[in-house]
């Protein structure tokens, strides 16, 4: 963690001296911060009373590590970065003219990788071995990609800060869970129904909050998300409260084949292949991939339609929009509804994939993660958001897999515990490093002569 202590005071000091002093400051601050929390640990003894366990050694390690880190950062990393920056500034033309092959064909390569991913995994690990990779990494990340792309419409395009997006995800999930278990309706009917229901709730939320701006809008959407979750928890007759709903039917292969082993049209029986749970996971992977592509397609199309342009114009300047005859009320509502609809799709997919939903999955943290992915990726940029989802969700999923760390830190070490801690740190660090996200520029929706990306410094972020 970098702590800057008035650098202008030490113009005369050499970098190493300066780094040394900064390291001392950092150590002092770290000592202050951690003395109670790392030096001591509250624990319960056998008679259930709280006692303190002393860990001064650990405290010393952390403080020294902070100091060393600061020393290296100020003494070596910072000057190196400044030199690199200066070099880049000296030769800007070379970097600008030659984007690499990967950069130029980023989208095509991305699509190809996504399509081939399960095939490659099956080839590498076999059907059984592929389960974890397809499910935990593939499907999990793609759900977040879809959610983030849905939220991107509301925040990235229309500039409306929505902190309760997870509510629509919940509406979609519960719509499928309830209608699927009680009425036995098929996923293929309930998917659009769940989307419509979420869109309806998007409009319901949209109406009262249209007049609100900025942070008032943020808190009301947050409150709305919490209201939906609390209602789900407390309306036990319908939602089964915190216990959740289980036994949610699986998705069928477009009604032709089933993934339930007991059904007569079980896929392995129909096709005459060995039984495996992997078929369902692979099918789900392609399903969510298809839904993602749908989201991307619709977003790209909408941006080139008047409604999408109106969203972006709304983000840039609402008053100017009104002076041009744009009905800002309906424009905002369509943004809310469209974003919510994709949230609803993702929700019903989530319910089908898990086979179980409970309010636990729809806490504010989820909204925050989705929002973080949108902002880290670069608002409005589909590619950037996908990369952000890959890094943030994939990165934390990998932590589950790092069993070898147990050999280093001892058998009590559980990397999963540190998952969210590292996630939070990554959020902060990425934001400090790239405040506008991975892709800060904006792709124009129409052009006269040539399409040139608009630098992020011109785009606004909306105030609503």
């Amino acid at each position: 963690m970098a702590v800057t202590v008035s650098p202008e005071r030490d113009v005369v000091a050499t970098p190493v001296q300066r780094a040394f002093r900064e390291a001392l400051y950092a150590a002092a601050i770290a000592l202050g911060l951690f003395v109670l929390f790392i030096g001591l640990k509250t624990d319960q003894n056998i008679s259930n009373e709280l006692i303190l366990v002393q860990r001064w050694g650990l405290l010393a390690i952390v403080v020294i590590a902070t100091a060393v880190g600061r020393f290296l950062y100020v003494g070596y990393a910072q000057p190196a970065m400044e030199r690199a920056k200066a070099q880049k500034a000296a030769a800007p033309a070379a970097a600008a003219t030659a984007p690499g092959f990967i950069r130029r064909n980023f989208n095509q390569i991305g699509v190809a990788v996504l399509l081939l991913y399960p095939v490659a995994i099956v080839l590498l690990f076999g059907f059984q071995g592929s389960l974890k990779w397809v499910d935990n990494f593939g499907i999990q990340i793609l759900i977040y990609v879809m959610l983030a792309w849905g939220l991107n419409i509301v925040i990235g395009l229309a500039g409306l800060l929505d902190l309760g997006y997870v509510a629509f995800y919940a509406v979609g999930a519960y719509a499928y869970a309830l209608l699927g278990t009680h009425f036995g309706l098929s996923f293929w009917i309930l998917l659009p129904a769940a989307g419509l229901m979420a869109a309806f709730w998007g409009v319901m939320l949209g109406f009262p909050v249209l007049r609100l701006r900025g942070d008032y809008l943020a808190i009301v959407t947050l409150a709305f998300g919490e209201i939906i979750r609390l209602v789900i928890i407390n309306w036990r007759e319908v939602t089964n409260g915190s216990a959740g709903i289980s036994g949610i039917p699986k998705v069928s292969f477009f009604g032709l084949m089933s993934f339930n082993v007991s059904d007569p049209n079980y896929i392995a029986k129909v096709l005459g292949i060995a039984q495996s749970g992997a078929y369902y996971k692979i099918f789900l992977y392609y399903l969510i991939l298809g839904l993602c592509f749908l989201t991307a397609f619709v977003t790209i199309r909408l941006r080139r339609l008047p409604v999408g342009r109106a969203w972006e114009a709304l983000r840039e300047d609402e008053i100017a929009c009104r002076s041009l005859g744009i009905n800002t009320t309906t424009t905002k509502l369509t943004a809310f509804a469209t974003g919510a609809m994709f949230g609803g799709f993702a929700g019903s997919f989530f319910a089908a994939r898990q086979g179980f939903v409970s309010p636990e999955s729809f806490v504010f943290l989820e909204s925050a993660i989705i929002l973080a992915i949108v902002v880290l990726g670069g608002m409005g940029s589909l590619g950037g958001i996908a990369v952000a989802a890959l890094v943030m969700i994939g990165g934390t999923e990998i932590l589950r897999e790092l069993d070898f760390l147990k050999a280093v830190f001892g058998p009590d070490f559980t990397p999963e515990l540190y998952r969210m801690l590292l996630f939070g740190m990554a959020m902060v660090i990425v934001m400090l490093w790239k405040p506008r996200g991975f892709v800060g520029s904006r792709e124009p929706t129409a052009f006269l002569k040539e399409r040139r990306a608009v630098s992020g410094s011109f785009t606004k972020e909306g105030h609503g």
């Binding site: 409604v307 342009r309 041009l324 005859g325």
Partner: protein, 364 residues
């Protein structure tokens, strides 16, 4: 001017317009007309309420009192004070620009002009549905809209920069782009709020050329500070001071109007006093205090002319207006004029008898 009689009708009629912010009367009983095919200029010193008039006409403010009638070329008539904000450009075909330029700075010039054609394109895209599935009817409308945008980019001399972000343009070009964008809504009346402010002479000339071009198809209502620009291009001038109309007529007649000269050059307060005392009429001073506003009833008793104390009020446009008793230079001249045998000045100050029956502003 040179237009045929059918073009010479009235496009905008403002009657007894009043706008109050709390105790401050930003506009008091303003009436004027704008003729089709002309450039009508609204001038006046700082804080005279010109932008407030614009905001009332374009629906950003709902006037406290008064009626604003717009007659479209096809004969339909709209009461602007009753229309919701966004329907004024959409249905009544009134477009405007802003004193502090409001462009979509992160969008390209072309996109800015396409956003301005929103309603037309929305219809063509079947309210998104047809467009989403790529129907040809939308593609055709889309191509036409780009053509219209190119047309106005050419007129504004910005076609070379069509694919640059609007925020990247120099100031003068931003002004022209904002006008081009307003023109893309297909307006019959274009309201320009200080288009020449902050422009250098070259940019100013380019702007004048653009405006003369626009006048062929669209009537213009113009707020301007700079008298030289006004005199050069406008056909008709309305002069405001402290929310009242003090003069109305051709540029020449306005230029020689003593009240306008007083408002702009400022007559020394002492000088007015001496004039008044020379006339020796205490009633005049009284009259000045009550003002011509008495007919308005108690609601306006705190208006600047009648208001007994100095009042500083945060104007919602960010300007601060300080109003004090007898501050109106033109009012003083009026008072002088009134003290003498009443002259045409009455037109500006006295109120028609029917004013009590004026329509209300409606929704707030």
């Amino acid at each position: 001017m040179n237009a045929s009689p059918s073009m010479n009708d009235i496009i905008l009629q403002v009657e007894h317009l009043s706008m109050k912010f709390g105790g401050l009367v930003a506009i008091g009983d303003l009436s004027f007309q704008a003729k089709r095919g002309e450039i009508t200029a609204l001038i006046g010193p700082n804080g005279a309420g010109k932008t407030t008039v614009f905001n009332c006409i374009t629906g950003f403010y709902k006037p406290s009192e008064g009626m604003i009638t717009l007659n479209r070329r096809d004969g339909s008539t709209y009461l602007l004070e009753r229309l919701p904000n966004h329907e004024i450009p959409a249905r009544a075909k009134v477009a405007r620009t802003f004193q502090n330029i409001r462009l979509f700075s992160g969008m390209t010039l072309l996109e800015n002009l396409l956003v301005a054609q929103h309603n037309k394109l929305m219809k063509a895209s079947g309210y998104t549905m047809l467009g989403l599935f790529g129907f040809s009817s939308y593609r055709k409308a889309s191509a036409e809209s780009i053509d219209l945008a190119r047309h106005w980019l050419e007129k504004a001399n910005l076609v070379d920069r069509a694919d640059d972000p609007a925020g990247d343009l120099p100031y003068g070009a931003q002004r022209r782009l904002e006008i081009a964008r307003a023109m893309c809504t297909g307006p019959e009346l274009l309201c320009l709020d200080e288009p020449a402010a902050g422009l250098n002479p070259k940019e100013s000339a380019a702007l004048n050329a653009l405006l003369m071009d626009i006048r062929d198809t669209t009537s213009i209502l113009l707020i301007e500070h700079d008298m030289s620009v006004v005199m050069q291009i406008s056909d008709h001038v309305v002069v405001l001071e402290y929310g009242r109309k003090i003069s109305d007529g051709s540029p020449q007649s306005v230029r020689t109007d003593p009240r306008v000269i007083a408002a702009y050059l400022g007559v020394d307060d002492e000088e007015v006093e001496t004039v008044l005392t020379e006339v020796g009429d205490e009633d005049v001073i009284e009259q000045l205090d009550i003002g011509p506003d008495a007919a308005h009833g108690p609601g306006t008793s705190s208006s600047f002319l009648a208001g007994p104390v100095t009042d500083t009020i945060g104007h919602s446009e960010g300007e601060r207006v300080t109003v004090s008793k007898g501050a109106s230079k033109a009012g003083q001249v009026d008072a002088k004029a009134n003290a003498a045998p009443r002259k045409p000045a009455e037109r500006a100050t006295a109120k028609p008898a029917g004013s009590t029956a004026k329509p209300r502003g409606g929704r707030k």
